[in-house]
Symmetry: D2
């Protein structure tokens, strides 16, 4: 099939490559002319046969909103826009509604796979009307991993990004699980070589997984992770998962714990813990720490 | 090799079978004469050539303590006892010390694999002196999964059970992660077929794992899990992981959240939430619920 | 001063009474003619001298939105609307903007005090321009508790409700703290009379507080809280506090734990724990519980 | 009454003073001769009339164990030892048993009050036989706050320290509640003067408490708490509360969150978060942070 692809960064660039390897004709556009196939959105749309399928792969939020809006002006009846970025599912309804006024279809697609997707395929969760999905199906088939799993039509518009968001929320908590176990094994000082214990878990255990494989790879590259700071960004899906849980009164304590651990990891000093230290000082006369870091665990209460 | 195996339940019985398939001679003992090879511990010990290796596979706590103690009276210099049960690592030091007085070696071994171990092999994490471990090595090699992973000599006595305990703590949090995601997808009512979304995650995603495969199998057997009560036991390792974290000042918020969710799942009514309801009633006049379950979410604050 | 008061429920009715006791002239309106002083909003507005001050005390969300909107049509330059309900702070900006087009001022005011406010006074946190606040000041002075504390001009529009929201978030976690302690004392079965321990804490301890006094009062009314179900609603402010924390990357683990405990308290069965039970059954052959409640803690892992 | 008091530090010294002000005869002993009334434990015991009452006020753990053991050798039938330190309740049974062999009674007493106790009185929770408690009662009456609350005979030996431990667990979570609220108000930047909001809460609100009063005092001394590091020790009772909860399958999520926040506050870098960063780098190519602190929130996922 012919497909337009907007956004040729780390993800988009690899996806163009995987689509081409599968024999599809991809017209790619990026602000960076070095990687772009065309000079403008207009040229991209012009080069596609009808019904035109355009896959948007730009950052969530304003960039995606502006791109979808611009495509609304350029596309027409029967064409389809796919948002493959990390948009919040609540954006999808708005985008679909905006495009529907011009009889343009909309499909939201959560994409997982990271830097491994080019070779292994991308896991895809998409939402939208069956007619619209059908027009994109050849691209989905090319992008997804080989084998029977890795792609799902999750439901109506928004269900793809919602599924991907929950996927990422789960991912947060699974990473946190391994991380807590790793810190405990390192600190307890009972196990001689923690990396070897983790490596052994790759077969036969209940907790074998791809993330475990990746953690072992990282431990091999940097034993003890001594070169890495304990600083973790978050990209939005973890926050949205917790918010969606709150909206539906679904408790998500493990996912939330993982999210909060990331928040804390980015603080140079914790205002909350200043308040704790201040209160302890007031009622118990416990000394507070000031500028210099402490030499060790203080003995007081 | 020749090996004695005490405890022929779900785990021990399958391990005897796997050891025999690998050509080893297993003398099994169990209280249940229908499955036991010998009539007594004495007979078991008698039948083994020296140095005698005896693998204990009985419940943690008193049963293991009594069995190790009895073996201390029956075994002699150069023999080795392996505790393959779910003992707390702090028991291992005591057992090793008790046996050392009689020049009997001790190896602790955490075993993972559940009902799948017979065919797939058991993941093994063991701790002890190299000499003692060497005497058990042929059994380890037979029990472990094929391939390069699945077994590790973690360190000194106690390190095997400690590693297995952390493994189980991680397992608690990973299960909780999937469970939270599943509940959210079911409640949000945006995805048409939640099982299909979980199934799609089995390839290409960051969260693919064996536990995910198992959850999909369970969802296939009982769509919506309508026949299952939300009731989960815990076996000790989760509690010990949190306690070990506390001992070493290692925060384990995700593992702890998973443990507490299990506690709550077993309560018919929550005393803590009675206290919350009572306080709200006192300051705000909010109605409390009495015996009958509520018809729905009450509107008040 | 003269003041209009819309919404004469449990809170509004008592506030009218406290304002009148302080010598103010209150024109109250409620849908319920039995408690209303006037027959319509129009009549209420008519009866007030300029600059007219109208205090809205209706449920947050649509009722407040509609009332503010209606007042926008009835009021004019220099008049002031006070929203004393439990609105989300994000609504305040919208309401203020809507009224500003008609030169009507807006003040948001978080009100705490529950059924005790009539006698003890209401804690007030308000936000808005100094000019607008000045017009309401006599009412604030009448409603607030005697003494030097209990009222604050927190900042611009929205800051009053935001402060009240955080107040409630803190309240959730404090209640949860006492509730956890109470459950533990009851379950541990070491203390003979838990109520007496709580009562003793009312003086001299670090944790003495008004909520503690209330909990003791509840325990006196219903020893063991045997007549109360462990079921707790939540009113919105707890959720918003967690959401605001997420927006600002501020971890709120204790407040969040309190919120989630309320969610769980309202579930007849936990979908997440069904998933946990299903996974345990798959890998370990652990029996699942079906319809009937279990007779006791099962021994398995 | 006559009473021996061992340990004249910050707490013990003030307690001696409060007992003397009430007319009691206190024989104090401390390793520091500058504050000690006698030169040795032997002299202290000698100076007391029978039945002798000796109050131990030294650090929990070894110091208390050694002191109780030494008193066992010096005291005789009908005498009573009071442990007023922060011992774990499980130590009490051991101490009581050791003394019982010599017909010496034992009372455990949790003491709250900090630096305020001298003037305001100390909250007391004690456990032991009625006969033993009766011998100490005059001292309890002198130490406790005036008014009807502040002292309780909680039950048998151990119940006093258990009650105090739960008190401290609750205290952890309440402090955490205020701390989270304070950080959120500071970060959200909607409220002009956060200290004034906290001050206003001291009357009329649901969350008024002594800890709130103390936090306001701290904020007055150091606006913004700019001179204090966010570093908080923990003294044992928080850990024991969580452990006791685990033993009795009582979930304590808010108390646990407070404990873990203190653990994190003392880490220069989080090993767990290193592992998170390492995994993210492996699957997504997300850059990790190395030595230098980041300039700001990175945009990536």
């Amino acid at each position: 099939m012919d497909i337009g692809l907007i956004g040729l960064g780390k993800m988009g660039g690899n996806m163009r490559e995987r689509l081409r390897r599968a024999g599809h004709t991809v017209v790619g556009f990026d602000r960076n002319p070095d990687v772009s196939d065309v000079a403008s959105l207009e040229e991209l749309v012009e080069k596609l046969p009808s019904p035109k399928v355009v896959w948007v792969m730009v950052p969530a939020g304003d960039p995606t909103r502006q791109t979808v809006s611009a495509l609304g002006d350029l596309l027409g009846e029967g064409d389809v826009v796919v948002d493959g970025g990390n948009s919040r599912w609540t954006d999808d309804q708005r985008h679909a509604g905006m495009l529907k006024e011009k009889s343009v279809g909309f499909v939201d697609c959560g994409v997982s796979g990271g830097v491994w997707g080019l070779e292994n395929g991308y896991a895809l969760m998409y939402g939208g009307d069956a007619d619209d999905v059908a027009k994109v199906q050849p691209a989905f088939d090319a992008l997804k991993p080989e084998g029977e799993f890795g792609a799902v039509h999750a439901g109506a518009v928004g269900s793809g990004h919602f599924s991907k968001m929950v996927h990422n929320g789960i991912e947060y908590a699974i990473m946190q699980a391994y991380a807590e176990g790793w810190e405990l094994l390192e600190k307890a000082d009972l196990v001689e070589n923690v990396t070897e214990v983790f490596r052994s878990w790759r077969e036969g255990t209940v907790i074998r997984s791809w993330l475990l494989d990746l953690l072992v790879a990282a431990l091999d590259e940097d034993p003890g992770l001594s070169a890495i700071r304990g600083y973790a960004d978050d990209s939005g899906e973890g926050r949205w998962t917790v918010e969606a849980g709150i909206e539906h009164a679904v408790p998500t304590p493990a996912i939330t714990a993982a999210l909060y651990a990331r928040f804390v990891s980015r603080q140079d000093d914790s205002p909350a813990m200043k308040a704790i230290a201040a209160m302890r000082n007031q009622f118990g006369g416990h000394a507070v720490h000031t500028s210099a870091p402490p030499g060790g665990d203080a003995p007081s209460a």
